[in-house]
């Protein structure tokens, strides 16, 4: 029986239009929120792990009540237990990892799966950061996994990739890779409706990183447009003479 945790995060749908309100903060009030895409691969690997070796899978998220929707989504796919750590303020990586480590320890997990990065920040700091704090092994950006008494993963290594044995306990951050994520079935959706979320309060250290502002990306000056394949000659010349490339 393996005690498995999977970390999930609610983020704006990747198709959503992002607007900065009042020139200082991103306004997400009318944006559809979904589970971060890589977290779906993390859930899939966690479920495969359970199916291979037996165990229990707990999905953990940090956020306010609205974040419970993605926990229910995780339940519908096949996760067993749901935990939300109740936090409403901005957290830097240090604060976030601190509360996640507390939750992982309270669950007693021996292996943690997460997405390689969240689609909002794109940072990818959480997996390796919590592994360090727990004193565990970690491998990031894995694309495949095999289960035995040891975990064996495939992950990028120096421009190529490698089969890597990982000692447990471990944190595994998941890239898209070769796994196909399963979809919720009717039974799962019913189970999700009835599922209860365990809410933990957090002992959240203060953040040392302060968000000053959000802004729109600097707009690029309009590019030059050409018609027809022969213009490739002109573009090649500009790449050398104007852009100083090549």
């Amino acid at each position: 029986m393996v005690n498995i945790a999977v970390l999930v995060k609610q983020v704006p749908d990747t198709n959503a239009k992002i607007v900065v309100q009042g020139g200082t903060r991103v306004d997400l009030s009318s944006v559809k929120m979904v589970m971060s895409p890589y977290d779906e691969y993390a859930i899939e690997n966690a479920l495969l792990h359970k199916e291979a070796l037996g165990g229990i899978v707990t999905a953990i998220t940090v956020g306010d009540g609205s974040a419970e929707k993605i926990l229910k989504d995780a339940k519908a796919i096949g996760v067993d237990e749901l935990i939300r750590v109740d936090v409403t303020q901005d957290m830097d990586s240090n604060a976030l990892q601190h509360v996640l480590v507390e939750a992982i320890q309270s669950v007693g997990a021996e292996v943690v799966y997460c997405g390689k990065s969240a689609a909002d920040t794109g940072a990818g700091s959480t997996g390796p950061g919590i592994a360090q704090r727990l004193g565990w092994a970690s491998v990031s950006n894995i694309t495949d996994i095999e289960f035995s008494s040891k975990l064996c993963v495939i992950a990028p290594m120096g421009g190529s990739s490698a089969k890597i044995d990982v000692s447990m306990p471990a944190v595994i951050s998941c890239d898209k890779g070769n796994v196909k994520v399963r979809k919720a079935n009717v039974k799962g959706i019913m189970a999700a409706k009835k599922a209860t979320v365990q809410v933990l309060s957090a002992n959240c250290p203060s953040s040392t990183i302060e968000i000053i502002r959000h802004s729109m990306p600097p707009s690029k000056p309009a590019g030059k447009s050409f018609q027809g394949g022969d213009s490739a000659n002109e573009v090649a010349r500009l790449l050398r003479e104007e852009a100083n490339i090549l």
Partner: protein, 309 residues
């Protein structure tokens, strides 16, 4: 305040982007201490002429032969002074930066593209917005490539070799030979990518031929990867593929969906070749060619060939 730069290493040699990291550290404060993770101290020779560093330390350990996050973090932590740490925003170094930050109970700011008045700016929401933060105290920062001006190489530094070690938690069972011997998109300074508009995977050979002329890697959109078994996921650029930051990105038969842009919009120069003048990719292109790839790529190849000759 002390700043520390962790050199970016690939196959035992210091990568050019390390010079950009030093210049990024200058925008924080003063000349940084440059730390070179190496299993052989001669790796550090490559940094002996870097300008703008206060000290060069070769952190020498067997653990630096292959990447193991916890061992690297241990080994580097023990040789680095306290201060703000700067590393590259490569996949591996972002992982390492997060480990080191956690080890020192610091926060980490990833993918920084600008440093001004003590404020750090990174793209968020896949580049659809920017976030500017201020760090109260030391932090760990990773910096994207091809943004900061590299320092010159007219300096002369003595290298101090310090032996170090760390606890290894993973073991490489075997390296996996890549299906192609081509440069990986994550390592390339020039990328030429194909999308669904290439029509057939065999047409990627036209992209490969151009890549060979200009030393580029070949990438792909998700539609290409999902549609054709011949195009592996390792080539995919975008939200669920690789984030790349090359000097030049050439998008061929790619519409420019927001999730593709997420992986390449911060490229320094973007060229788009697409037969549809309204394709969104053109809004992000420095040079846009409205034409089919069939009529464009042969001309482009010939032009590059005569330029590189």
């Amino acid at each position: 305040m002390t700043t520390i730069v962790i050199a970016e290493i690939n196959n035992g040699s210091i990568q050019e982007t390390t010079k950009e990291l030093i210049s990024a550290a200058h925008s924080i404060e003063g000349n940084p201490v440059l730390i070179i993770p190496c299993s052989n101290a001669s790796t550090a020779d490559g940094a002996s002429n870097f300008e703008g560093v206060s000290q060069v330390i070769a952190a020498k350990s067997d653990v630096f032969g292959t990447y193991d996050a916890s061992a690297w973090a241990d080994a580097l932590d023990s040789v680095m002074p306290q201060g703000t740490i700067v590393a590259a925003a490569s996949q591996q170094s972002k992982d390492l930066a997060a480990r080191i930050a956690a080890k020192r109970n610091l926060s980490v700011v990833q993918d920084v593209v600008s440093i001004e008045n003590g404020e750090f700016t990174s793209p968020i929401y896949s580049g659809k917005a920017m976030q500017t933060v201020r760090c109260n105290g030391d932090a760990v920062i990773t910096v994207r490539a091809n943004i900061f001006n590299p320092v010159s190489s007219g300096g002369s530094n003595s290298v101090q070799v310090v032996d170090t070690s760390g606890n290894v938690a993973t073991a490489v069972r075997e390296m996996i030979e890549r299906a192609s011997k081509r440069l990986d998109v994550s390592e390339a300074n020039i990328i030429i990518s194909g999308g669904r508009g290439m029509g057939d995977p065999s047409n990627f050979s036209h992209l490969e031929q151009i890549a060979d002329v200009i030393g580029a890697a070949v990438g792909a959109s998700r539609a290409a990867v999902d549609t054709w078994d011949e195009i592996p996921h390792s080539m995919q650029v975008g939200q669920t593929g690789k984030t790349v930051n090359p000097n030049l990105y050439i998008a061929v038969g790619i519409s420019g969906a927001i999730q593709h842009l997420a992986g390449m919009r911060s490229s320094k120069y973007i060229v788009a070749i697409n037969k549809d003048a309204d394709a969104p990719i053109f809004q992000h292109a420095d040079y846009g060619i409205v034409a089919t790839w069939e009529e464009t790529l042969p001309v482009l190849k010939a032009a590059f060939q005569s330029m590189m000759a």
